[in-house]
Symmetry: C2
Subunit: 464 residues, 2 copies
């Protein structure tokens, strides 16, 4: 860059913030470490950067104007919802030149349409708020995850979030029947008719879901609710080995139509979490615990017990008898991320393998981690029914990529994915080649270049 | 083009067919009207063209080689499955310079994986063959449509087909969990792991599904089966007006979890079809008939009758008492396309409107058609639960676009789509602007240009 163009660029950047203030109001352009800090780091402390400013538009039109203005100034934007991501996809890099585009003010919730069970929700609406609106209208959101109070609908869409109930209702992609989004040139695409069948041209919403803010800024979605099921039955099963845990997933899913949650915990994680929660183990700690929850209109407890009996694990299971007992069992699984975080900044991987390879993967994992980081503490847990394992390794410097490489190579060898539900972010962009062919990556890059030629939207995320 | 380059081009095109023969074998490059005719016209006779040759590769590698070779020669390809499309998306234009890429030889069916209920199927497998394989393994394909014997899985994927059971299981998009496809540059993308959660980069399969062979040639898909339900109950309801028919859709879907089929027929179509089938009406012919079918593990007849009673239409309904009776009722709905076709080449539109606007649309439709084509015969029927109406108009020259324009404008005014499940094809490319904004169309065009810069794949389809 010549000296003149550097000066031009600085002068132009200096003009940017006043322009953005005119769009969103001065109070919604935040600068200075005190105001911006919470937007610049993720909650685990693993991802931390510095931004030029945080900009907080109130609606789609303001988002569009902000994106257009930043595009004119060639200043990159990092879209951010609840900032609960774990892969560096919602925090700025260290340059101090990026804008964090916070979408939490887009928090409008429409009414549920009775004919279709669909509800329009702003990108900034928290999952908890969506769940509450759904339940109040006699429905359920059909998606749940631990970060529900903070995670936003826009983030769920951008990462194609999965969570606890995907085994029954699919991921965010299955729930989202309409999207409104701002493209990199500041134009707005709206597909909010909520039609079950609509194949008039390319399905842009399907492309934008899971693109982690790199192709467009999702500002609103139309969410397809599921019937509210108020009767629940919950069991915790003690299993002698991770391989056996993997083996019961298929039969349980096949024999339990009311299955809504099917989770895996392993020994180290169970102990670490019970310690952190200061809770006594509800049963003997074994190499693996499997948590099963069914949901139906009428009490599914008999069905659950029958299914456990059918696959020969009823004798190793405890069944919650009331809401408090259910909450205690669920809390152990849900306490895992906090318990791990309490132990320090860890290497975090969110991988998925086909069920047929899950036993093999889980068996090999400790050896692979020990070889990569001798003496490190491995905490693996996750969504058993989805073959989705959260791998946490405490000990090595999180910037040391030895563990990441070893585990992701194991995943690739099992025919799995380097990201099941957290996204690629900046963290795993370099590993995409492990599971996506050169042709596949070239196609992704071509799509990115077509929709964001100037790399305005979340550069460095997904594609390195 | 200069004279020299025309000669060059002709010489190069002359080299193409021998090269394609070396890839697929001489017997699978068809030229000359007798051999190519059935590939050059659709079954309704509405869409008819002329091709340079029909090429019939046997597998993905041959498809890739054919696409690469055609790309080198700048010769466009029209991918074709069962050629049951209705919008000119699978037949060549009149230039005689395009290659029809027939995929019917890619007809391999893999085994059902028990853990996941997934089955790999080649693009050329017919829907009937998929359904049979599914049923033999204790599953159901979860998708059905009248052209099942001829329509191929590749075509279902390319058009995001809907059909009869979408009201319960969603469209092809919901069933397809993996795609293998050849891109315009001859490279192959494969996402066939069948993971429930996999957000590692852009979801290219989601983009390719419904792109009508304009972004890639789908060669194989991984299909997610649904449980086989052998107990069925079927009813036909006589309704006094199309508006009332539209009004019962929501309550029926809400009160009947076992609902699998919810179809609409209207008076002219009912009479034309009964005539064509030489069948006596099973009950009084009214302005609208609604066909309902439930499927469950145990006999859903009581549930069906209770639901009909609950919405106050039990008195107007007949219920099939055996398989032959069911077949007779279904045959009336399924006979509609043939009956219409028997009446001549018609203007065919496949539109969708939100359920909230369906009554208004159906009420206005006859007036709009009569104004556009006085004296024409309107036959409207379709998938009530999806708000998906097939509009057939007999009388005007199918090349006269007055009816198309009028009906599609009505659809747009109702917040609907100009294509619900048939696709845009060449037929409706010019009408995309009625329902997709300039920004939306620009994004589609950018994606097309990114993945197929030389317009090798199905030019003129989707984007005019």
């Amino acid at each position: 860059m010549t000296e003149t163009s550097t000066i031009d660029s600085a002068r132009r950047t200096g003009e940017l913030l006043p322009r953005l203030s005119r769009i969103v109001g001065t109070g919604h352009v935040l600068t200075g470490g005190d105001l911006t800090r919470s937007y610049e780091s993720d909650w685990t402390g693993r991802w931390s950067g510095r931004c030029l400013a945080v900009v907080r538009p109130a609606n789609t039109a303001e988002v569009a104007a902000v994106v257009a203005e930043c595009g004119d100034h060639r200043v990159a934007l990092v879209p951010q919802g609840g900032n609960t991501g774990l892969v560096g996809g919602s925090t700025p890099d260290g340059s101090g030149s990026q804008i964090v585009l916070s979408l939490t003010r887009l928090n409008g919730i429409g009414a549920v349409e009775r004919e279709s069970g669909q509800i329009p929700v702003g990108a900034g609406v928290s999952l908890t708020a969506l769940q509450q609106a759904a339940r109040a209208a006699g429905y359920d959101a059909g998606l749940d995850l631990g970060a529900r109070d903070t995670a936003t609908v826009g983030g769920l869409a951008a990462c194609d979030a999965g969570g606890l109930k995907a085994v029954r209702y699919g991921t965010a992609r299955a729930r989202i029947v309409g999207v409104e989004a701002v493209l990199a040139d500041g134009s707005t695409v709206s597909r909010m008719a909520g039609l079950l069948k609509d194949n008039a041209g390319y399905n842009l919403p399907a492309l934008l879901i899971g693109s982690e803010g790199t192709l467009a800024v999702i500002t609103e979605v139309l969410w397809k609710l599921v019937p509210r099921l108020d009767a629940r039955a919950t069991a915790l099963i003690a299993i002698d080995s991770v391989q056996q845990a993997a083996q019961i997933a298929g039969p349980l899913m096949a024999s339990l139509p009311s299955l809504e949650v099917l989770e895996l915990m392993t020994e180290t994680g169970i102990r670490v979490t019970l310690d952190y929660l200061d809770q006594a183990p509800p049963m003997a700690v074994t190499p693996a615990w499997v948590l099963v929850q069914c949901a139906a209109r009428t009490d599914p407890q008999d069905e659950l017990i029958e299914a456990l009996d059918g696959i020969g694990v009823a004798g190793q299971a405890i069944v919650a008898v009331d809401a408090a007992g259910t909450e205690r069992l669920m809390r152990i699984r849900e306490g895992h991320p906090e318990a791990v975080n309490h132990g320090g900044v860890s290497t975090k991987l969110d991988v998925g393998v086909p069920l047929r390879a899950l036993g093999r993967f889980l068996e090999a994992l400790p050896t692979v981690v020990e070889r990569a980081a001798p003496g490190a503490r491995l905490v693996a847990y996750g969504h058993l029914g989805d073959g989705n394992v959260h791998v946490n390794v405490l000990g090595p410097d999180p910037d040391d990529t030895t563990v990441d490489e070893s585990v992701l190579e194991l995943v690739a060898g099992c025919g799995g994915t380097i990201s099941a539900e957290h996204g690629v972010g900046r963290h795993k962009a370099a590993y995409l080649a492990l599971i996506r062919s050169a042709a596949d990556r070239a196609a992704m890059r071509a799509v990115k270049h077509a929709l964001d030629p100037d790399e305005i939207l979340n550069p460095g995320t997904v594609l390195a």
